[in-house]
Symmetry: C2
Subunit: 204 residues, 2 copies
């Protein structure tokens, strides 16, 4: 039904909704760049996007979701991770999966740049940063399932949750570091350093 990758929606209604959503987000990012996140009021964004405030909240449940929700069709990491052989050690699988994600992102021009800019915004706004982990582990996301299968434990088990929490916690910090400290660094290199750090210090 829905969620088919890179398939333009059929009806006029659907196309209009997508356009409105993009216009709202574009307007928001424009205003954020000018005056910052917190100084930009929601009704101002709505006006800039030529919709009413009510409509704004129909598209984005909270102001933070403007930054946190992604419309990129794929959830790359979970997909790439699921593609790795199950008998591979977790960190090895994650490493390769992330490399693959970066490669995919490099395919679309400006994608990495946009991702980093988005992370800078996230890093600089506390209320957004607080909710980052939600975005990293979406409800429908298969990341937990993939990890669970890899370690042979149920999805809701302590072990799976702990592992997911650790990996996401590590990469949350890596992303914030990327955005805030080393914006020019190579994404792949940072990912490798992240995983090396885990491998070196989290054993025995």
């Amino acid at each position: 039904m829905r969620n088919a990758c890179s398939m333009t929606p059929q009806g006029l209604r659907e196309r209009k909704k997508l356009r409105t959503r993009r216009e709202i987000r574009d307007a928001a990012y424009r205003l954020f760049a000018e005056q910052g996140f917190e100084a930009t009021r929601v009704d101002r964004i709505a006006a800039e996007a030529n919709v009413s405030t009510s409509t704004f909240f129909r598209y984005f449940p909270t102001k933070e979701d403007l930054v946190l929700s992604e419309d990129t069709p794929a959830r790359p990491l979970s997909v790439e991770l699921a593609a790795r052989p199950v008998d591979e050690p977790v960190l090895t699988a994650v490493r390769h999966a992330i490399h693959a994600c970066v490669t995919v992102a490099e395919g679309e021009p400006g994608a990495l740049e946009r991702a980093r800019h988005r992370m800078e915004l996230i890093a600089s706004v506390p209320s957004v940063r607080d909710r980052l982990h939600e975005t990293m582990a979406r409800p429908g996301d298969d990341l937990a399932e993939s990890l669970a299968a890899r370690i042979g434990r149920p999805v809701d088990s302590l072990e799976t949750r702990v592992l997911l929490g650790a990996v996401l916690g590590a990469f949350r910090e890596a992303l914030l570091h990327w955005a805030g400290v080393e914006p020019e660094a190579d994404a792949r290199a940072l990912a490798d350093r992240t995983i090396d750090t885990l491998a070196r210090h989290l054993s025995a």
Copy 2:
């Protein structure tokens, strides 16, 4: 100056402030138990505690801080961790530090029970859960310093941040699991399972 462990404040003013703070929090927890977190309005809490709404916000900057801020004098984990030998592997040091924390908590009657009840509240309220990691790594907390020293890297380095993020992420999930799934489980055993999981799956 301040922050001396278990030292009763001298002036009447200080004593009164502490009492007010406790009264507000007690009133809040009472109301939360009756009607839930979100259904309890701040002015209702203030009234129940016999203070004005203004005063409430002087004591707790946000409603969430009622649950998140702790008044326990020590920051046990960072202290216990700092007490471990620096050449000990990170996970070993963390394991012993947590065991020590649990032992300390068992000393004060009802402390573990209260901690678990608090975690249940945190786990059940999204807005509070989102800010849990703040509480786990306070600004003045030495956890980052302790880890940094242990791995021989600067506090703000990617490696230190990643390690801290991973450990806190893991234990965040462990705490939520404790509160939500296995409330009767032994805290020490859960901590061990958490660390074992990290050690087993986050290497190579």
